[in-house]
């Protein structure tokens, strides 16, 4: 028992996971502090909605960075962080959705339905959150085991999710023509998706060469 505990503590992937959880909880801790100090500013609903949206983006970009990082560093230790980051993304995404449903719409189903129709970017965000929920629900090891081969294609829907998130953000900012923040974030997410196309191409070439030589 003791040796296994020591090996667990010394296990670099466990340490990385813990570090990710610590870092990912900091924004939430900041909110708790700001709320306790009544320092959320003039429009607390707007602050929490935007802040949770921003941290969802950060976590999504970080999640999508782990696979490229694995390739570039030729180390698979990052895989341990990927799951934690994905769950953190779900956590902040859920708070973001909750800010809208509860604080902004007062959980009124009629208001919410109307808002989903009149503001399509809200509907896009909702669609993204639904995908995120499915991914989070199928994240535990037992779910992964149960899904078997289907797990990987299912979790590739994070690419669709990223595209929905980009559209959601850009559309939100389109009204005021203000892409100073949404632009760079979209570029980053699209970049992380494009990198994967390149991986696929390399993989294809590798397979093609392999079969030719074989």
């Amino acid at each position: 028992m003791l040796p296994s505990l020591i090996s667990r503590l010394a296990n670099p992937s466990q340490a990385l996971k813990r570090l990710v959880w610590l870092l990912a909880s900091l924004p939430f801790a900041r909110w708790v502090y700001l709320i306790s100090q009544d320092e959320l500013g003039a429009n607390p609903v707007e602050f929490l909605t935007r802040s949770s949206g921003t941290w969802t983006l950060v976590m999504l970009a970080a999640t999508l960075s782990m696979t490229p990082l694995m390739r570039w560093t030729r180390s698979n230790r990052w895989i341990a962080a990927r799951q934690s980051l994905g769950l953190a993304c779900f956590f902040y995404g859920s708070l973001h959705a909750l800010c809208w449903a509860w604080f902004d719409q007062g959980l009124d189903p009629d208001l919410m339905a109307e808002d989903l129709i009149t503001r399509p970017f809200i509907a896009l965000g909702m669609a993204a959150w639904l995908i995120l929920s499915v991914l989070a629900a199928s994240s535990p090891t037992w779910a992964k085991r149960r899904l078997g081969r289907r797990w990987k294609p299912l979790h590739r829907s994070i690419y669709a999710l990223a595209i929905l998130v980009v559209l959601h953000y850009l559309w939100h900012k389109a009204g005021k023509n203000d892409f100073s923040e949404a632009g760079p974030w979209s570029a980053l997410l699209i970049g992380l998706l494009l990198v994967r196309l390149r991986f696929a191409k390399v993989r294809q070439r590798f397979h093609a060469r392999g079969s030719h030589e074989g």
């Binding site: 003039a42 609903v45 929490l48 007062g106 808002d115 970017f121 005021k176 203000d178 100073s180």
Partner: protein
């Protein structure tokens, strides 16, 4: 209609605040009178006096940034009895894109705005085109305090105690000709002072416009201050427009030119998104913005995390005064 009016009535707990506010105002007025009388004293050992005044005032009103003079003004019957939004929120939550697009940006970055010397050039269809210096402008008519509701097109609102006088006082002075049908307001666009101009969110200078009869309406205010003090830079110093029955963006800040014209001017937001922002932009709960409803609003500082938003009132609650300006007009078409 009567329902709307009832909805506009504040709670009794809010009404009692009026006496307190008037008291504060009297204190501020006497303070500012003291300050004006003691100009010499101010110049010499006045720092402590000013400091004292601020210390005094801060007991009664929220803390103020130092270095702002106080303006004397008489109360106005146009004021609402609703509870004013806190000074802190009024001076820290601003849309002033010349200083950035975040609400916090203007308060952080507007320090670079130079409000002296300042002139307004008045031109176009007027008998007396002229350039008026800010000091002259300040003395053109007696200052009043007007506590107005301010409704932003984004769906939030405030109640702000402005200082100023009716825009009509300035208009009468320059004598518009028979051709003057509209008034166009052009605001400062100086890259040296305004970091936000680097962004292409809008075309600069920020331009707004009113129909001449709207501009002449007694509610239309040329404002030089708020909360008893000179306008903070982030709120549009040294002189701005306040048109309380229209969405906030119509109330142009840091005005440098006023043109009297025959044709309807194109304001900056119309130019940027003609489908979303119209020339009139009257507050109207029945006409939705193309991307969101305008039926309700969140009052800054009051409608908190868990309380419901309040209903938006026709013409921001000023229907009795201004509805006549739009008699017979289709407000869906002329949004």
């Amino acid at each position: 209609m009567s329902n709307d009016l009832r909805a506009s009535q504040p709670k009794t707990s809010e009404i009692t605040a009026k006496r307190v506010w008037q008291q504060r105002r009297t204190v501020l007025q006497s303070l500012s009178a003291t300050l004006l009388r003691g100009r010499v004293g101010l110049a010499l050992g006045g720092a402590s006096l000013l400091h004292h005044a601020h210390a005094q005032a801060s007991v009664l009103t929220p803390p103020k940034p130092t270095g702002l003079e106080l303006l004397a003004a008489a109360p106005s019957s146009f004021s609402t009895i609703e509870k004013p939004t806190s000074h802190r929120d009024v001076v820290s939550y601003n849309n002033f894109y010349e200083f950035g697009t975040d609400k916090e940006d203007p308060a952080l970055l507007a320090g670079s705005l130079k409000t002296r010397p300042w002139t307004i050039r008045i031109e176009g269809e007027v008998a007396k085109p002229q350039t008026i210096d800010i000091e002259t402008l300040l003395k053109l008519a007696p200052m009043e305090e007007r506590i107005y509701r301010m409704r932003c097109v984004e769906g939030w609102s405030m109640v702000i105690p402005w200082l100023g006088y009716p825009l009509s006082a300035l208009i009468k002075r320059v004598e518009p000709t028979g051709n003057a049908k509209f008034v166009e307001f052009l605001t400062l666009a100086d890259r040296q002072q305004m970091p936000g101009l680097r962004s292409s969110v809008l075309q600069w200078p920020y331009t707004e416009g009113l129909r001449l009869d709207e501009a002449m309406h007694p509610l239309s205010l040329l404002s030089f201050g708020l909360y008893g003090e000179v306008l903070p830079k982030q709120n549009g110093a040294p002189v701005r427009l306040v048109v309380p029955w229209k969405y906030g963006f119509k109330s142009a800040k840091s005005i440098v030119r006023i043109r009297f014209v025959e044709k309807q001017p194109i304001n900056s937001w119309m130019q940027s998104a003609p489908r979303e922002y119209g020339f009139y932009s009257n507050v109207n709960p029945e006409v939705a913005h193309p991307r969101w409803s305008q039926a309700s609003e969140r009052r800054i500082g009051e409608d908190g995390l868990l309380s419901r938003k309040r209903k938006t009132l026709m013409f921001n609650g000023y229907a009795d005064q201004v509805a006549g300006l739009y008699a017979g007009m289709d407000l869906r078409k002329f949004f």
